[in-house]
Symmetry: C2
Subunit: 112 residues, 2 copies
DNA sequence: TCATTTTACTACGACAGATAAAGTAAATCA
DNA sequence: TGATTTACTTTATCTGTCGTAGTAAAATGA
């Protein structure tokens, strides 16, 4: 299980990634995250829905009511152009972040 | 500039890394972080000192008064055995975290 | 058919870590 | 001697995560 403080800066970006090709909704996103990460990251419901609200407030996604085929009525979210731009920025930032953190996190057990 | 939410889970670990071989103190750690990261990460003073307090509270470091050679009196910090163990755990976690996040953060501009 | 499970959220409050702002204090430097 | 650098400390605020609880409808099973 990876700590939530680490992932904190990337929950929104992860959601945008999963919305890239088609709209989706909370429950599905949550399962996708669990499956794709092989159970290594399971996002909390409240974290997920508060992320959706934040994303919508920032106009990175827009919501619409889906025709529910099963289960309760769903709220779908669609990524916006602004959301795609934000994602691309975060993608670049993540590349830099990895390099920076790698300079400070090394294995002292195996020399250097 | 990398965002603070990203680094949030690793500030303590970065400090422990820099204390690995010899004790140090706030101001020096802060400069080391800036230099090693080539200005890409500049830790805020308050963030740094609150991290030291947290580390000490958790017994990952212990403090002692140094003979100041210049400037104001310094509080030095020395990593403990518990701190080294914690660091090793975070080192492993970071490896896993990178792999997990990489599954969700890809460049849509270049195919794949 | 009725209860349980699964799907799909919403509301509220607490907490931790980052940070802005301001202040303190001693040594060095021009 | 006054500005700058070093070296912190205190206080208060903000954001994102998360625990707890509740709502609601469809699917599933006995």
């Amino acid at each position: 299980m990876i700590s939530s403080d680490v992932i904190r800066g990337y929950n929104d970006t992860i959601i945008l990634y999963l919305l890239w090709d088609q709209p989706s909704y909370g429950y599905e996103i949550s399962k996708l995250i669990r499956d794709i990460s092989n159970e290594q990251y399971v996002i909390k419901e409240t974290t997920l829905y508060s992320a959706f609200n934040r994303l919508e407030k920032n106009s990175y996604v827009e919501s619409f009511s889906g025709k529910e085929t099963q289960g309760r009525k769903r709220t779908y979210y669609r990524i916006t152009e602004k959301g795609r731009k934000y994602y691309q920025e975060k993608f670049l930032e993540w590349g830099i972040t990895k390099v920076v953190i790698d300079k400070f996190i090394k294995d002292f057990n195996k020399g250097e």
